[in-house]
């Protein structure tokens, strides 16, 4: 018997969607989670690790590209100030 005294039957009912009252308890109970982990072992048909890591890498790439885009925009703005038509007008006035 688990130290939390939750029975196997209640956990089966919880898994089958017949008893949702255990939700908060399961979220914080390691023993109940281990029971469920054992029960659900092998249920997932595919390995998610590669698609998860691929998504994370792609997100990082997008973030890097966005940062690069901002850096380029800042560099172009600076170049325009220093070397653009307004810069020539400024120097002529000195």
């Amino acid at each position: 018997m688990r130290s939390c005294r939750t029975t196997d039957e209640r956990l089966f009912a919880f898994v089958d969607g017949l008893d949702s009252r255990l939700d908060d308890h399961v979220a914080g109970c390691d023993e109940c989670q281990q029971f469920l982990a054992d029960l659900w072992t092998g249920e997932l048909a595919d390995d998610l690790s590669e698609p998860v890591m691929r998504t994370i890498r792609f997100d990082e790439f997008l973030a890097s590209a966005a940062r690069l885009g901002i850096d380029i925009a800042v560099a172009m703005a600076k170049a325009l100030v220093e070397y653009g038509p307004q810069a020539d007008d400024g120097e002529a006035g000195e």
């Binding site: 196997d8 089966f12 919880f14 898994v15 089958d16 969607g17 017949l18 939700d23 399961v26 979220a27 914080g28 390691d30 989670q33 469920l36 982990a37 054992d38 029960l39 659900w40 072992t41 092998g42 249920e43 997932l44 048909a45 595919d46 390995d47 998610l48 690790s49 590669e50 698609p51 998860v52 890591m53 998504t55 994370i56 890498r57 997100d59 990082e60």
Partner: protein, 165 residues
């Protein structure tokens, strides 16, 4: 992002993916949706690693993430299952008795249609009232194998009965 950190996270995914998938499936009742939600949960967990202070277990943290995602998905898609067989009549008259007889007959057919490795532990549990350990001893199987087979038998029965409805 350091690549070896991502590889370590990949190991975490492999360690907990069945649990996260099961937690999602319990709510959304659709394995394709549950798999998508599990994947999404891990991606969100990676993004939120900085806020995970380690006070709770990783598994509990993942459980909360995927549960929230699944509940949101159910609210959006309204796919929450109905497990109960609908009441077609509320009285106990002849019509109701006939319905119950038909239901018993159908249940019997469904149970008989289960594979032997699922039917036997189910019957021992539901009709023989044996404990899971007694069934494990009787069938010379590990305890968790008995639990899993009974769960699968119940699921198969539910799917058959829903198709019959």
């Amino acid at each position: 992002m350091v690549e070896h950190d991502l590889e370590a996270f990949g190991e975490l995914v492999r360690r907990h993916q069945d649990f996260v998938f099961g937690a999602a499936l319990r709510i959304v009742r659709n394995p394709v949706v549950a798999q998508d939600l599990a994947q999404d949960a891990f991606v969100r967990a990676y993004r939120a690693l900085g806020s995970f202070e380690g006070r709770a277990q990783v598994r509990s943290w993942l459980y909360r993430i995927v549960t929230n995602l699944a509940l949101n998905a159910v609210t959006r898609r309204r796919e929450y299952p109905t497990d109960s067989i609908p009441e077609r009549a509320t009285d106990s008259g002849p019509e109701r008795q006939a319905e119950l007889a038909e239901l018993r007959h159908r249940l019997n057919d469904v149970i008989e249609g289960l594979p032997e490795n699922l039917r036997r532990p189910l019957v021992l549990r539901e009709f023989g009232r044996l404990s899971y350990q007694e069934i494990a001893d009787e069938m010379d199987l590990p305890l968790n194998t008995v639990r899993t087979r009974i769960l699968r038998a119940r699921r198969a029965m539910r799917e058959d009965m829903e198709a019959w409805r």
